[in-house]
Amino acid sequence: MTWLSQNDVERLGADLAVANSASYIFRRFRADPTVKALALRDGKELLEGIRRSEQAAPPKLEDEVLGYAAAVAALTSGHAPDLTAYIATSSGALKWLPQLIELARQEAGPPVNVVSIGQNQYQFNVSTPANVRVTSTSSGTSRPSSRSEKLVLSD
């Protein structure tokens, strides 16, 4: 996987070297142009990059850099839930990974879902991850209506 040049590995590796916490990695990597470019990739690709990074034996610096770069890219491009699910099968080789996910979650604030239906917006908190699905929508009236929509929360 050649997502990173040698210069990228050197630059991001130097950041990893002085990292005392996940928050430093999150802050530095997310501002890096290469990581920003990675964030444009497909979420599955990024997860595959993380998986390969963790499985590398023996682990090299470039694998570690790639793993964290892909993780931060995924977290900053709306793939946090995928990464959270991935953690269950993670080898733990990327030790900051759980904390990076937690940082992204904290930054996103309380789990609030916003659903737009027509011109109405519905906002509600959920205590556990849930998918919000709209099963029927209003007929386009401009007046807010609380009875013409049915929202279904599904696990």
Partner: protein
């Protein structure tokens, strides 16, 4: 720790990672920690190259890279192991349990004091003061001994280095008065 996992790996010993040692605060609160005995040459090279770039000519690198300990391991565990520093309250709590009190002015920091670097409630770095601000009246900043991640130990001014944008807070152990 079993005899198969010596605290200090000797040349020729199998490389081990992920070992922890028993470590408690003064009050007996266990402190989670981990040692990373494996530091490949490429990591050493990148760490040294980065350190020369991160610090100006005022800094002095005093020890090479090591995976055994990080910044908190240097300050709170005598270089024995790495201690994670995710939450500022956890680190400040540990310092309190170890008898530290806050020193509110950077100008009042003395040799031996501890400085924490934080951002948005996360403790990002911790280091030891090795020269008071009064020793450098032109700059008015203390010099500190830092260890960063698996990188080097370096003496530098408190307002320099990779964590220069963080908020700094100083702490001192409260022992019996010298008088």
């Amino acid at each position: 720790m079993s005899s198969a996992s010596p605290l200090i790996a000797l040349p020729g010993d199998p490389i081990e990672t992920g070992c922890a040692i028993r470590l408690d605060s003064r009050c007996g609160t266990p402190i989670s920690n981990v040692q990373d005995k494996s530091l490949p040459p490429e990591k050493v090279r990148v760490a040294l190259a980065g350190a020369k770039k991160d610090f100006g000519q005022n800094a002095k690198i005093v020890n090479g890279p090591s995976g055994y300990y990080n910044c908190a391991g240097l300050v709170l565990a005598a270089r024995r192991t790495q201690i994670g520093t995710p939450d500022l309250n956890v680190i400040w709590g540990l310092l309190t349990e170890d008898g530290y009190v806050r020193v509110y002015e950077e100008a009042d920091a003395e040799v031996g004091d501890v400085v924490t670097y934080s951002l948005k409630g996360h403790c990002e770095h911790i280091a030891l003061v090795v020269a008071a601000a009064s020793a450098h009246p032109m700059l008015g900043r203390p010099r500190i001994l830092s260890k960063h991640g698996w990188s080097v130990e370096v003496v530098h001014f408190a307002h320099e280095g990779p964590y220069k944008d963080c908020d700094r807070s100083y702490f001192r152990t409260r022992n019996y008065d010298l008088a």
